[in-house]
Amino acid sequence: MGFFIEAVLGGLMTGMLYALVALGFVLIFKASGVFNFAQGAMVLFAALTMARFSEWIPGWFGVASSWWTLLLAMLIAMAAMVVVAWLIERLALRHLVGQEPIALLMATLGIAYFLDGLGPLLYGSGVYGIDVGMPKDPVFIFENLFEGGVMVNKEDLYAALIAMVLVAVLSLFFQRTRTGRALRAVADDHQAAQSIGIALSRIWVIVWAVAGGVALVTGIIWGSKAGVQFSLSLVAMKALPVVILGGLTSVPGAIVGGLIIGLGEKLSEIYLGPFLGGGIENWFAYVLALAFLLIRPQGLFGDKIIDRV
């Protein structure tokens, strides 16, 4: 029983981490109708910037690494993501207004290639650490209830909290603000949005920069878990079933989807995996998402797909 609870908790917290990545996808899709395959590359790029500067800055100032050097590195990384957002808009999106979603998807793949090259070129291809003081050792709760207690990973807990806060803030932003509404309008119809004076370029820079910020947070959390290296960009793949399960257009969907996928994935691997030879969680997550989609093709919270004649 204690172990089952551990598995459930572990699954839920992993799910929150997926949700964080998924959030980046949802943001951009919601606001521009672009399925951003470059999200993983953005995570890597942001994390690399952060990791390298947090290492360099103490060197430049001749001080030991402390909270303000970290903060400075984070600000620099954020600035870098804004620049990236601006360049992406300038050089790519602007010229692709009104194109098919699939062409836009491909363009983001091109951007992913570009960033995957640029990151290591600027920062090197080693393994770098990000240490923002996340606790690494486990804590045990309910020790009087179960033998050995229930193990919880504090780091995951913090990460889950951060994810939740981000999601809450972003949901409010979309539903309640003028810019949020404009973002949704752009996603529906680029041309019509332009025709009533919504400046696409500005909107896009905003969204991509926000998505860059989400990527940075994701990068810091995952990077402090696994170290910052090339494979970090692959965490994006783990978020895809979350995105479709929750609905491409739903910020809260990312969280719920994340929880379902995280939980389903871990439980299936632990309880079903041994019978099938193990390693099933990767495709099982997709099968789980598929099962939900068959019932609701637009994901749990996604906007209904509208077709009228």
Binding site: G10, P120, D131, K225, F230, L234, E269, P274
Partner: protein, 411 residues
Amino acid sequence: QEQYIPALVYRTGQFAPLGVPWADGKLDYYKLVNARGGINGVQIRYEECETAYDTARGVECYERLKDQHGGAPGFDTQSTGITFAVSDRAPGDKMPVFTPGYGLSQSVDGRVYEWNFPLLGTYWTAADAMIQDILKKEGGSLQGKKIALVYHDSPYGKEPIPLLQARAKKEGFELILLPVTAPGVEQKSTWLQIRQRRPDYTLLWSAGVMTPTAVREAQATGYARDRIYAIWWGGSDHDVREIGQGAKGYNTVTLHNTAARGPVHDAIKAELYDKGQGSAASADILGQLAHTRGMVIAMLQVEAIRTAQEKFGTKTVTPEQVRWGFENLDLTQERIQELGFDGIVRPFKTSCENHLGEDWARIAQWDGSKFEVVSDWYQADQSIVGPLVKEYAERDAKAKNITPRDCSAVE
């Protein structure tokens, strides 16, 4: 006159942190040989080809480079996948493929695998050394114990399984197999399973990001790090440096004396790095596992070429002649000393039946800031590995319609 040597490397992609020092090690050694006057006076002309650890790109490199400048003297593919792909072409192309410390374990059998040379050791060597070390710790018996294998779910990660199964049968321990899907950024369920089944030891066949993630998860689930044994590709400094104290006690198996510096390192520092000609950014790299591994591999290749040169009396050698060189390599203690590798590799001798030579491995442990060798040398138990090699090689021979050579007829 020049001897052309193509070098397949991966300086980019998922495994770049390992590939870069490995490639630099190879290059540094070639440069050193050149600085010392070449192989019997023949300068090495090397050329890199980037594979990014991608099989298709590796094959492209192989095809492009194999016939250049009078023919390549063999390939060290740096990848299990590329080795598989290239091994099938090698007999047709008459091209030696040498895979020190990786590749196909059964290719030790030179009767079937005429063109493959897994010198120094295979994954079966590694697995066997780990079990021997554990046996030692457990006082000679593993009866009723549990050992988990957490492996990269690819041909590479699966290589040790047959050996471990054989060992499990013999020693009476339970083997738990836990595959991790590449790239391995997410291993929570794996480590929860470990927590659930509580294996006494965990062997780690990891690569790239999978290694630090595994160590972090072990830390987060409270699994003792000194009960983890990683294959050599999970035993580089960069794999655990960021974890620092959290990885203390983590074991890895090594083919050569990790972190040991021989005279050859000093030579490279003096000849190259002090003159600003080193391949890596700084001389700090000298002595790191992957870099030294690169040097050792380059050294073996150069020795095979030298052996071929001396046998056939030519300056530049053909791939076929190099194959002979690999098959008749005799690395004596004197020679090792002469090359400056004493304390790093041990003497061995290859033959028609045995393309491995001798496999010596030992265990190193992370002390919080660096790897320290903590065991004596082990050698894979021939009574276990021998029959396995034979069984697998013969099966392959049948599948591919190869008639094993009769080694008594080979000069």
